[in-house]
């Protein structure tokens, strides 16, 4: 992530998955049923991460070089795919994002007692407070509003 950020990407998403290389797969013959296929994946596939980002074409070489340097000695595959069209809709998402607040407070947790960061997420209808140490969470629901609360 640091290498990508240094090379100039502005956003990315990550998918964790399990995968098998062709050389690992070679020679296998499994029964054609979902249970066998899932069992094979659980037993033989290795954990992998897919990192996706859309970047300016001019920056591609620099980004690829940075990633190759950062991942020296690691097993990886880089796929460079041209994007023909991007359509982004922000309508509801932007509204939702603006109306969700995230705050933090470092205090002893009500459950584990450790002095740790308590995260607070508040939106228009509910709120959640959880301990980053033990995970204990309290949930609140909107009770009402007062327009002239001066």
């Amino acid at each position: 992530m640091n290498a990508l950020a240094d090379a100039g990407i502005t956003g990315f998403y990550i998918l964790e998955y399990k995968g098998m290389s062709p050389q690992d797969w070679k020679g296998f013959s499994i029964k054609e049923d979902p249970k066998s296929a899932i069992g094979l994946i659980k037993d033989y596939a290795t954990d992998a991460v897919l990192v996706c980002s859309v970047v300016d074409e001019e920056k591609t070489d620099e980004i690829v070089e940075s990633v190759m340097q950062a991942l020296e000695g690691e097993k990886y595959t880089i796929l460079e795919v041209p994007i023909r069209r991007i359509i982004v809709s922000h309508s509801d998402y932007e509204k939702e994002r603006v109306e969700t607040w995230l705050l933090e407070k470092e205090v002893p947790c009500f459950y584990c007692g450790e002095n740790s960061v308590q995260r607070i997420r508040i939106d228009t209808s509910k709120a959640k407070i959880w301990c980053t140490n033990c995970g204990a969470a309290r949930y609140y629901l909107i009770k009402g509003v007062e327009k002239e609360g001066r």
Binding site: V98, E99, W101, L103, K105, V107, P108, C109, F110, Y111, G113, I120, I122, T124, K126, A127, I129, C134, G135, A136, A137, R138, Y139, Y140, L141, I142, K143, G144, V145, E146, K147, E148, G149, R150
Partner: protein, 59 residues
């Protein structure tokens, strides 16, 4: 363990007046109160439920 009341501040656009203002947030075990310093619009949340992790028996 009793929880002391927390007093927090958050700069955000007010849900009521729409201005970018400071909101005072008070949190305790039972309630959360949020109040816009500009227009006074307040929202109240009450405790609903708690989700506790299982304590380790090995300790």
């Amino acid at each position: 363990m009793a929880v002391k009341k927390w007093k927090l501040k958050k700069g955000a656009n007010c849900y009521n007046c729409g201005d970018a203002t400071i909101h005072d947030i008070e949190v305790d075990e039972f309630d959360i109160k949020i109040r816009c310093r500009d227009c006074g619009f307040s929202r109240y949340y009450s405790f609903h439920m708690v989700d506790l992790p299982r304590k380790c028996d090995v300790d």
